[in-house]
């Protein structure tokens, strides 16, 4: 084949620019750390990486939801725990009050403590978490119970949070559920939630101290108190179960997130060892090409004619 000077310079130039563009590509990958920086680099990997990204974003959101739900449930659990202690203290006082030998002064002192306890329970019922009343149903911005235990501003709405795709969890226990269990039968109904009504009954019985009252103390009132404690413990069990379920889901989700990250990394992260090796090889090829180019373009017969 007849070889002309133009052919040589074109071939040299083409090869040099091909070498250089390979170098640039490797350099690009090394500096960005990613194999794919535009869809045409690899459409399949691009689509998969985008899927993984959106799945991971959703996953992160569900993780946040679960963590928030756990915090909410924990607050509820604490509130219910305090309620249990208060009710148990009321029970102790009831049993003490039911003793025939107690003087009316002593009973009055007990009644005073019940009054304090009732105030305490109102406070528990109005517990807020991050400025939101947890026993108010969906009316989270208003104080649900008044000082005498009427459920004035709450409703029975549920707060349903999504913890994974299509799976919702009810995180709240409304005030009606927690403080107005139907298992309690108040002696004199005064319109307040049943637990408060019962505490009002208890205080009245201690204050009045008639023999019927004392009989009620060890009978109906004690029974109602036990029902209230049972109800609270049941609710706590429910909250605990939900919290456990969330903890398990969170652990599982953490494992899944790790899997996704690993997969994405496998798809799109640059293998640095390979990239550096490639880069060095391409660089030496480029230099060799430059060297030969310098030697091959220079001479012609002209250099050797006198």
């Amino acid at each position: 084949m007849r070889v002309t000077n133009n052919m040589i310079s074109r071939t040299v130039l083409n090869n040099l620019s091909a070498d250089l563009s390979r170098l640039q590509k490797t350099q690009d990958q090394m500096s960005s750390g990613q194999v794919v920086s535009r869809p045409s680099d690899d459409p399949v990997v691009t689509a998969r990486v985008m899927t993984l990204d959106s799945v991971m974003a959703q996953h992160d959101q569900y993780d946040r939801n679960m963590n928030d739900a756990q915090a909410w449930l924990e607050t509820t659990d604490k509130a219910l725990g305090s309620l249990t202690s208060a009710l148990q203290r009321a029970r102790t006082l009831t049993i003490a009050g039911a003793n025939d030998s107690l003087s009316s002064t002593d009973r009055n002192a007990l009644a005073q403590e019940i009054d304090q306890l009732t105030g305490n329970v109102v406070q528990i019922a109005n517990t807020s978490y991050a400025n939101r009343y947890i026993f108010a149903g969906t009316k989270t911005t208003t104080v649900p119970f008044d000082s005498s235990g009427n459920y004035v501003a709450g409703n029975t709405g549920t707060l349903d949070w999504e913890v994974s795709q299509g799976v919702k969890i009810t995180v709240n226990i409304d005030g009606n559920n927690a403080f107005n269990p139907t298992s309690i039968t108040p002696i004199t109904s005064d319109g307040s939630s049943r637990i408060f009504n019962m505490l009002h009954d208890l205080k009245a019985a201690l204050t009045n101290g008639t023999s019927a009252d004392i009989a009620n103390l060890s009978g109906k009132i004690l029974g109602n108190l036990d029902s209230a404690i049972d109800n609270t413990l049941n609710l706590r069990a429910e909250v605990g179960a939900k919290s456990n379920r969330l903890q398990m889901a969170l652990n599982q989700s953490a494992a899944e997130t790790l899997n996704y990250k690993e997969l994405k990394s496998k798809l799109n992260d640059v293998d640095m060892v390979k990239a550096i090796t490639d880069f060095n090889m391409q660089e030496s090829v480029y230099q060799a090409a430059l060297n030969t180019a310098a030697q091959i373009i220079q001479p012609s017969l002209l250099n050797f004619l006198k």
Partner: protein, 457 residues
């Protein structure tokens, strides 16, 4: 008996031919790197022999040579190769134009990255999720609105940039069409000159080089066929459109209405890129339109913090909903008062009710019938994947065609290119031929000197 001075004439022809050859060589060397130049060669032939007109030829035997002459100065070129190169160059131009446009479009979508539309959509739906847990929170409502504004801006920005690329492509097309017309005129002019020079019996090598270069350039822009009329003139047709008439040298004015004749070259590439761009834009609009519609439907079904039914979420005002990516915006009422974000559903207008917010967040994983039953993000992903495949194909085709064109151009250069080594060798050859012919003149001179001056009469 022949002339005493025949030898001198023969030597003179030798001198002239060697000079001629050297001139051609000089021309070749001078144009060694001129684009489109075809190397030339002085075709030497022995001139017609002289038959001595005498009866029975008593003195000399046979015919006597009369030296050398240059018959023509020839262009060394393979016309078949030209045709091949032009066909492949057209294809290269086609893919190159598409590749340029598609790369630009890829840059517009900036995927995969942390700031593409995909991420903006994720953020938008995530903020609804957050709000569903804390529906009364004003900061979270603001986040929802701000993320929605970012998403709307993302859509609009992408749309505007696609429109800009579209404008650029149309402009490029006009430039290319003008280029075709101007080249056609130049070719017609060259046709006239070539025909005239050929009629005078000369070879207009350099003019033909110029015309061939124009044809090479034209092949980057469009496909065409060349008809040679034999007298040096050529006709050019683009499909059924007559661009240059080689007989009358009239030039047809090519315009955008004649594009149906174009099946290759940059013009076709631009046309194809426009079609593809329009399909991406249509997809983007479909995605935006469905997002607007489903979010608006869900939002108007909810109750805002003031207890009223939700306004439309994406719109230019409370009564005009956005239509697609070109005009997507968040209802300014909602932007001004985040309490208008309808997080509650109609069953319970309490501030803590985030059921509707959750319903909107769940649209993220809902199969949308208007998007052939895929989710928003899947639809968008399909669009990006399609763009990626298109762009990758054009990438591959460009490098394939480039390799092919390079290889063919090398073959052409192998035939038509100037080799300096060869020209130097020729130069030496002509130099010695010249010296030899000059020596013949010197010897003849001394012979004639002897004959004319030294002989005593």
């Amino acid at each position: 008996m022949y002339s005493t001075f025949l030898g001198l004439e023969t030597a003179r022809r030798g001198l002239a031919t060697a000079r001629n050859g050297m001139d051609v060589t000089g021309h070749n060397v001078a144009n060694a790197s001129t684009t489109g130049y075809t190397r030339q060669r002085a075709d030497q032939v022995a001139s017609d022999p002289y038959t001595v007109p005498s009866l029975g030829k008593p003195v000399t035997a046979g015919q006597l040579g009369t030296g050398v002459t240059v018959e023509q100065i020839e262009r060394i070129r393979d016309n078949f190769l030209d045709g091949q190169i032009r066909t492949e160059t057209s294809k290269l131009g086609n893919w190159q134009a598409q590749n340029d446009a598609l790369s630009e479009i890829e840059t517009i979508f900036t995927e995969p990255s942390d700031n593409g539309l995909s991420t903006l959509m994720s953020n938008f739906f995530s903020s609804w999720q957050e709000l569903s847990k804390n529906a009364e929170s004003s900061p979270l409502r603001t986040t929802v609105v701000q993320n929605a504004v970012s998403l709307a801006n993302g859509f609009k920005h992408t749309y505007t940039q696609l429109e800009t690329v579209k404008d650029n492509l149309n402009q490029l097309m006009t430039i290319d069409i003008n280029d075709i017309n101007s080249k056609a005129q130049q070719i017609a002019d060259l046709n006239t000159q070539i025909v005239n020079i050929k009629a005078a019996g000369d070879q207009p090598n350099d003019l033909m080089d110029k015309r061939d270069l124009l044809l090479d350039d034209l092949s980057k822009l469009t496909n065409y066929t060349v008809t040679d009329h034999g007298n040096g003139s050529i006709s050019i047709d683009i499909g059924s459109f007559n661009l240059v008439d080689g007989l009358t040298q009239s030039v047809g004015s090519f315009s955008s209405t004649d594009l149906t004749n174009v099946t290759d070259g940059a013009l076709n590439g631009i046309n194809q890129a426009l079609t593809k761009l329009q399909s991406y834009e249509a997809d983007l609009n479909t995605l935006a339109a469905n997002l607007i519609k489903t979010v608006n439907d869900a939002h108007t079904g909810g109750i805002d913090l003031n207890g009223n039914a939700g306004e439309i979420f994406f719109g230019s005002n409370a009564s005009t909903a956005s239509t697609d990516a070109s005009d997507i915006a968040v209802n300014p009422d909602i932007q001004n008062d985040v309490n208008l974000v309808a997080a509650a559903d109609s069953s319970d207008p309490s501030p803590g009710n985030g059921t509707n917010a959750l319903a909107i967040a769940d649209l993220q994983s809902t199969l949308i019938s208007g998007l052939s039953n895929v989710t928003f993000s899947d639809y968008y992903k399909n669009l990006i994947a399609r763009l990626g495949v298109d762009s990758q194909e054009s990438d591959r085709m460009v490098s394939n065609q480039q390799a092919l064109v390079d290889q063919l151009t090398n073959r052409k250069d192998s035939i038509s290119g100037v080799s300096l080594d060869e020209e130097m060798t020729n130069l030496m050859q002509y130099q010695y031929a010249y010296q030899g012919a000059a020596r013949v003149v010197t010897i003849l001179d001394s012979m004639l000197d002897t004959l004319i001056n030294k002989m005593a009469v």
